[in-house]
């Protein structure tokens, strides 16, 4: 494995090689430039960083544990599986790491209203949560299909005081919610901060969200070194927009560690009903950045499909496209049925109910573990917990 110089990216204009950038209407450009300069300022501000660290510790509950899944490992017969327990972070997913950072930044800039798009509802809940914490007004855009399949999170957002705005265009999923959030932002940009939920969107979001999430990998790295005295052989995470995966991967890109990103293959890549953007897409521009996208030959974006609302998106963060082309990360995909099996397996063998998104990463680890020796270590990012998915899982498993 060759040494990889990823840490110099993005460049000054927000490009990761040919990817990234700021493909937005002029109305938003001044706000993005302002955001970028504020983001540079807080990087050097000890007060800001201190407050963020304190909240990550006392409010989110970091560091999250790294759990050795012994029964699952024994069952699979091969490498030892460790789970990075982002499901134990406050609100039940990694998303809060990012929303806390962005809400603090919104306050720093002086904006008291926040908006967000959400698919699984985890990012919406995490945004509504920090809005409550900081006394901000919060609006969350969510597709009607996702409102139906992630109902518990809709109730949580409402309880937290957020307004949930249903989006019915397209397939009523994450892409459509993001379209609508961007439109709203164009009109409200003077007083509203857009909290984007993944490493997608225009610069500086992909860089900023990665930086707020990289705590996942930094903790994992020191936890495994402390416990096992060595680095893992492989790390695995699911890829929707790509934030929990970038968060885990970033600390390891220059290490001799195999890195796997797992996309959603839905009903199968050949069925056309999938969300495997990197595995089956081509280069295009969506939601403000250049990256792999699912599109037809005329450059129209195609609809994605996944059982998991958080992975049901025809785009992906630009840094992933860059990592894919460089060969540093291997991207694979897992179908709906495989994710459901992994969901049950982890639940019954370890007493941990994973989010359907995270179940894709678990499913891939279940394929990898038996192929490896007992001395090998695989770390899986358990990006969230599955309470929100009980309805949809119940429908599929008939309970």
């Amino acid at each position: 494995m060759n040494h990889f110089e990823s840490k110099q990216y993005p460049d000054a204009k927000g490009h990761f090689g040919p990817y990234g950038g700021r493909y937005v209407s002029e109305t938003l450009m001044p706000a993005l430039l302002e955001l970028e300069s504020a983001y540079r300022d807080i990087g050097d501000d000890p007060g800001f960083q201190h407050e963020l660290q304190e909240l990550l510790y006392h409010y989110v509950g970091r560091p999250t544990p790294l759990f050795h899944a012994k029964r699952l490992s024994a069952h699979l017969g091969g490498a030892s599986l460790y789970l990075k327990r982002e499901d134990l972070a406050h609100t039940g997913a990694h998303k809060i790491n990012n929303t806390l950072g962005q809400a603090l930044l919104a306050r720093w800039i002086g904006k008291k209203k926040v908006i967000a798009e959400t698919g699984a509802g985890q990012h919406g809940v995490a945004t509504a949560t920090v809005a409550a914490l900081f006394g901000m007004e919060c609006r969350v855009f969510m597709g009607v299909e996702d409102i139906a399949r992630q109902a518990p999170n809709v109730q949580r957002m409402k309880l937290l005081g957020a307004e949930v705005i249903p989006v019915s265009s397209g397939t009523g999923t994450l892409k459509d919610a993001m379209n609508e959030a961007m439109r709203y932002w164009v009109g409200a940009v003077r007083d509203t901060f857009y909290v984007i939920g993944s490493v997608a969107g225009p610069h500086p979001y992909p860089e900023m969200v990665r930086d707020f999430q990289k705590v996942i990998g930094e903790e994992t790295r020191s936890q495994i070194l402390e416990e096992q005295g060595k680095l893992p052989n492989m790390i695995v995470a699911c890829v929707g927009g790509g934030s929990n995966s970038m968060g885990l991967f970033y600390a390891f890109v220059n290490d001799p560690v195999e890195i796997l990103g797992v996309e959603a293959a839905g009903k199968g890549i050949h069925s056309g009903k999938h969300a495997a953007t990197i595995s089956a897409g081509s280069v295009g521009v969506l939601h403000g950045s250049k990256s792999y996208v699912l599109q037809d030959e005329n450059g129209q974006i195609q609809e994605a499909h996944s059982i998991s609302a958080g992975l049901d998106y025809p785009g992906v963060g630009p840094e992933h496209s860059f990592l894919k082309d460089s060969g540093r990360v291997r991207y694979v995909s897992i179908e709906d049925g495989q994710a459901l099996e992994a969901f049950q397996m982890l639940t019954t063998l370890e007493g941990i109910i994973p989010a359907l998104e995270s179940s894709h990463a678990v499913a891939q680890a279940m394929i990898e573990a038996p192929r490896r020796s007992k001395n090998d270590i695989i770390v899986v990012n358990l990006s969230g917990r599955g309470d929100k998915d009980l309805g949809i899982v119940g429908q599929h498993l008939k309970f």
């Binding site: 950038g21 002029e26 938003l28 450009m29 129209q300």
Partner: protein, 267 residues
């Protein structure tokens, strides 16, 4: 002189401002779209903005979103819009045609192939909604010079220093967005428009066309008193949507073109 400059020069002599009409190409279907565009040109439209429908129009309000869905359902694509351009150009030798697109369809077509086809089929300018100057190097590096104008957008949020920078790389005319919002949103602040137009005039000598949310002849008259052109988009698309099942669709739209055009005459 190209068609855009000629048009503004002629209008200046007649003491008129330009009526710029935006329609989503292929709405409600390709042949009716061609018929109604022809009727608009005959009714006195000065500049045609031909919208390339896109699946994810994040700078557009509901009216243009729905028009894009209809056009895409009828098979519209950048390729078809370029063919439509050629058909319109055959009938109307002088009207400037601006292709108005999001970047992804152009990127998928190939930038160089796109300029070539745009020129050959008779387009005069290109406006890419989601391509600010920061990202346009890849677009301009193969740009065919003056044969095709690169129309730039200026927003109410654009500071004057940035206006200057953007205007420096613009050609044809400058499109000033009338309000902080997506297309078709209501609540026009004419004082604001006058203020931004004045700022913009201080940094460019190009003609200034103002658009987004202008829908009545009275609004056209007010905007025309400060700008060089007035863009009507969502209001035309709303007419198309409301009347698309009627055989007289084209004449209804043409009638409105005449009404708006009358409001651009300054005498």
């Amino acid at each position: 002189m190209n068609r855009i400059a000629e048009t503004f020069e002629k209008l200046r002599q007649k003491k008129e401002k330009a009526l710029v009409g935006f329609v989503t190409a292929g709405d409600p279907n390709i042949s009716e779209s061609l018929t109604l565009i022809a009727a608009m040109c005959e009714a006195g439209l000065d500049i045609l903005e031909l919208g390339v429908p896109f699946s994810d129009p994040t700078a557009d309000g509901p009216v243009i979103q729905r028009s894009s869905v209809r056009a895409l359902a009828k098979g519209a694509s950048l390729r078809r819009v370029l063919e439509m351009t050629r058909d319109i150009r055959k009938k109307f030798a002088d009207i400037p045609i601006i292709l108005f697109s999001y970047y992804n369809p152009i990127h998928a077509y190939g930038n160089k192939a796109f300029y070539k086809a745009a020129q050959e089929n008779g387009a005069d300018g290109v406006l890419v909604v989601d391509l600010p100057p920061e990202e346009s190097d890849e677009m301009t590096e193969a740009w065919p010079g003056n044969a095709l104008s690169l129309i730039r957008l200026i927003a109410p949020t654009t500071p004057v220093e940035r206006m200057k920078h953007i205007a420096a790389s613009a050609s044809g005319f400058i499109y000033l967005v009338s309000k902080t919002g997506v297309t078709g949103s209501d609540g026009l602040d004419t004082g604001d428009i006058a203020f931004h137009t004045k700022n913009l005039r201080s940094v460019t000598s190009l003609p200034i066309c103002v658009g987004f949310g202008i829908s009545t002849a009275a609004e056209v008259a007010v905007v025309a008193s400060v700008a060089d052109g007035v863009v009507i988009g969502s209001a035309f698309e709303r007419l198309i949507e409301e009347n698309m099942d009627k055989p007289e669709l084209a004449s209804i739209v043409a009638e409105n073109v005449r009404k708006y055009k009358a409001a651009t005459k300054m005498t």
